[in-house]
């Protein structure tokens, strides 16, 4: 086990309580809403904030007593924190110089990394003259060049444009694949998390609410936050055989379950009707339209009613059904499009 | 009582005008601090309702202040040269020398360099402090040494006699040439050694009532007090010599 950490922190308005195990070479993504404590967790791991309680062990070595600079870490900050008085190249070379590498060699390796993030042309530029995304790439190179044992990434791709993001993401992936240390990645972007991480830890208000491999988390969200993140409608109900009762609605599902259970389905699987349909779908309820917005090529309809749900339908269908907020519609979902699992 | 500001003087502040008859401003060399403060008390006692304000400082500074229009009534300088600046500017006439001051060799009480005469100061092993030539005690020291035909290499040329004395008191130097008055004022922290050549290098202290004095009468009376026997007593008690 490379990294074992029990992170406990108490602030007047906030408590963090997070147990973390990251195997060598594994990438764990911390997901969570704004203010959940993701950055705080990274700062605790880095030693920038002192643990109220708990411990951090890396490669069987206690880390929590070491000062920041002795920890074999690399960190990318949410707002980059490039040294304003150093060129991009010297920013990247900084960590190597701290490790005692010679000036020429440091610069050579720094330049190599700058080139990897596509900024060889900006080697001699001061951070002030870099665009946001360029700055973030320099910050990434700066953290990676020192070959850390534990890599801490605070939203490393947030400011990148779609193209660069793809590229840097695959660079990052490749590097992470070669990398035999532990990586903890904070991100908001489910795609980043899915692509980069081997395991997800979702925290809310400082507490772990779900943990697992990305596909599993994506298929079986356990909180509203996760459900929205992966774009599913999530409900908690009571199962009895192939039926789950959510509020007053009885859903038929394909799984056989007993007791408290979760039920999910995709917005795109929801069908809407102006009048009560007479078809095969058994899961049918009456809802009020709360809002309509564009969502990619489709329109997303927010439904209120006994349960609230999102439904994605084509703009043509919206026009045809003449859906407007406040209107009452029938929503239905096929049993085969639902997924249920124990709560 | 006395008359107010003369016609030649620029208008004074209203406060000054009101207070003029009962307030006397004396600009005096810092070395006169103790004696003049005492004489000031005597003067106030003799002139009920009158206050004497003193401005003690370096004679040169006082002279500059007076030439720049300071509202002074009396100027007592520690050297004729500074008084000359004021008389040259036409601000005072006929200064009178009211005391003289004589040099002594000051040594620390334990006299580590065993100094006994002026000649001992020429020994390169003896650390000597003199006043700078530009200030009265320095000029006097030069005169005394010239008179004795001696050449002394001091380690420092101090800006005033008190600074010179401090060096002796703290044992930084083995000897210094200072005024007799300073030796007396140091109350045993230095020992004074008189030397015959001192008589050739006496420093005169002139005093004058200023011609534009806002309180001309009082000024004259104060000068008279200083020159009186009573004034002499106070001054000689402090080690000054009568002119």
């Amino acid at each position: 086990m490379t990294l074992t950490a029990a992170l406990r922190l108490t602030r007047p308005n906030f408590r963090l309580d997070l147990d973390l195990e990251v195997a060598p070479g594994e990438v764990v993504a911390l997901l969570g809403p704004n203010g959940a404590g993701k950055t705080t967790a990274l700062r605790l791991l880095a030693g920038l904030t002192r643990l109220t309680e708990g411990h951090i062990t890396l490669d069987d070595q206690p880390l929590h007593d070491l000062p920041v600079e002795k920890r074999p870490i690399g960190m990318v900050f949410q707002d980059y924190l490039l040294f304003p008085h150093l060129s991009a190249l010297d920013n990247v070379a900084f960590g190597l110089r701290c490790q005692g590498t010679g000036k020429a060699e440091s610069r050579r390796r720094a330049f190599e990394w700058l080139a990897r993030v596509g900024l060889e042309d900006h080697a001699n530029v001061r951070p002030r003259q870099l665009s946001g995304g360029q700055a973030q790439r320099v910050a990434l190179a700066r953290a990676l060049v020192i070959d850390p044992r534990l890599l801490l990434l605070d939203e490393p791709l947030a400011a990148l444009d779609a193209h660069t993001r793809l590229e840097i993401r695959s660079h990052l992936r490749r590097h992470l694949a070669d990398f035999d240390g532990a990586t903890v990645l904070v991100t908001h972007d489910p795609l980043d998390a899915m692509v980069l991480a081997d395991r997800l830890i979702v925290i809310e208000r400082g507490q772990v609410v779900q943990e697992g491999v990305p596909a599993d988390v994506a298929r079986r969200p356990r909180t509203d936050y996760v459900a929205r993140l992966v774009g599913l409608n999530l409900y908690r109900g009571t199962a009895a055989g192939h039926h789950i009762k959510v509020d007053d609605i009885l859903f038929t599902v394909t799984e056989h379950l007993e007791g408290p259970a979760f039920l999910v389905f995709a917005p795109s699987a929801v069908a809407l009707y102006r009048t009560r349909p007479d078809g095969s779908p058994r899961n049918l309820w009456q809802a009020t339209i709360d809002g309509v917005e564009r969502h990619g090529d489709n329109m997303r309809i927010h439904l209120d009613g006994p349960i609230s749900a999102a439904a994605d339908i084509t703009p043509a269908a919206v026009a045809e059904l003449d859906l407007t907020p406040g209107q009452t519609v029938w929503a239905s979902i096929k049993a085969t499009e639902t997924h249920a699992y124990p709560a | 009582g006395s008359e107010g500001g003369t016609a030649a003087a620029p208008a004074t502040t209203p406060a000054a005008t009101a207070a003029a008859p009962t307030e006397l401003t004396v600009f005096a060399a810092a070395s006169l601090t103790e004696t003049f403060t005492e004489l000031g008390k005597t003067f106030e006692a003799a002139h009920p309702g009158t206050t004497v304000k003193f401005n003690f400082g370096s004679s040169a500074t006082l002279a500059t202040q007076i030439t720049q229009g300071a509202p002074a009534d009396v100027f007592a300088a520690a050297s004729p040269a500074t008084m000359k600046t004021v008389t040259d500017a036409g601000l005072a006439t006929a200064p009178t020398v009211f005391v003289k001051n004589k040099l002594q060799i000051a040594v620390p009480p334990d006299n580590p360099a065993k100094v006994e005469s002026l000649k001992d100061l020429t020994d390169p092993e003896v650390k000597v402090a003199l006043c700078a030539e530009q200030v009265p005690c320095g000029a006097a020291a030069v005169k005394a040494l010239d008179a004795a035909g001696l050449k002394v290499t001091p380690v420092t040329l101090e800006q005033d006699v008190k600074a010179t004395l401090t060096k002796v008191e703290l044992g930084e130097v083995d000897a210094a040439l200072v005024y007799q008055t300073d030796v007396i004022a140091s109350a045993g922290k230095v020992t004074g050694i008189a030397f015959p050549e001192a008589d050739q290098a006496i420093n005169d202290y002139p005093i004058a009532a200023l011609s534009k004095a806002p309180a001309a009468d009082l000024a004259k009376q104060f000068v008279d007090l200083v020159l009186s026997q009573q004034g002499k007593d106070v001054l000689t008690k402090a080690g000054f010599e009568a002119p």
Partner: protein
């Protein structure tokens, strides 16, 4: 053990910084120890009740504080202009600001007399037009102190302004703040530590100011005789008393600074 002010886990103390710092502190504090050893403690109580001493102390504190106020009012805008406006001759102006720093204070006093004295360039006009004469008045003490102390404030504050992040000022401008509002509501609070540091320097310099004061304002007890002037006269008569007076001035200022500065410095 020492730790950082922040929440971070403390590392090894950097002795290469702590050792020279200790030496520096020793250098500043040892002479004080010398004074303390030498001071005639027996007479301290008696000195402290002398009305003249209290008067000089009060005058020193009042004039230094007023002078600092004037320096803040005139000096902070001056620092702002030097840091934020570009105008022809800015280099020259910046160099001129340092003039009173280098001028020996006594000469500064003479210069003030030449300009603001009763017969000075501006002074004679002030006198004839408004009946104001500055030399030999308490106001004159304030002028002399402000003249000598202002550069400390201007230079400290200009340094702070240059180090401040301009982008906050840009953000304020986009919210409709005029330069004056930006200055008052964004720049000033952001550089508060720099202003406090400058004001401390300025106040302390004014408090210890001697040469320009005695030359320009004279040495009248109760009116222009501040503590340093009293110390000067005491040196003429009884050096021990001078030490006691200095220690009194020191103690008072250190107490005031220690109690005020920590509050100001920690507030933002």
């Amino acid at each position: 053990m020492a730790g950082t002010g922040r929440e971070a886990v403390a590392g090894r103390l950097p002795w290469v910084l702590v050792v020279p710092a200790g030496l520096g502190l020793l250098f500043l504090v040892l002479p004080l120890a010398g004074l303390l050893v030498r001071a005639p403690w027996a007479t301290l109580g008696e000195r402290l009740v002398e009305p003249e001493v209290l008067e000089a102390l009060r005058l020193s504190l009042v004039t230094a504080t007023v002078a600092t106020g004037i320096c803040l009012v005139l000096g902070v805008p001056l620092a702002w202009c030097l840091a934020r406006l570009s105008f022809p001759g800015r280099r020259v102006v910046r160099a001129l600001v340092t003039v009173p720093l280098v001028l020996p204070p006594v000469v500064g006093g003479v210069a003030l007399l030449l300009v603001l004295g009763r017969r000075g360039l501006v002074g004679q006009w002030l006198d004839s037009a408004f009946g104001i004469t500055l030399p030999f008045t308490t106001a004159g003490v304030v002028v002399a102190e402000a003249f000598v102390a202002m550069p400390f404030l201007v230079i400290s504050v200009e340094g702070a302004l240059r180090a401040a992040d301009l982008r906050f000022e840009e953000a304020a401008a986009t919210l409709g703040a005029s330069r004056w509002v930006v200055f008052r509501r964004v720049t000033l609070p952001l550089i508060a530590p720099g202003i406090v540091a400058g004001a401390v320097l300025c106040w302390a310099r004014a408090l210890g100011e001697f040469g320009a004061t005695i030359t320009f304002a004279g040495n009248f007890p109760g009116q222009t005789q501040t503590m340093p002037l009293a110390v000067y006269l005491a040196l003429e008569t009884e050096p021990e008393a001078a030490i006691v007076l200095s220690l009194v001035l020191l103690a008072v200022s250190v107490i005031i600074l220690a109690s005020l500065r920590d509050r100001w410095v920690n507030s933002p």
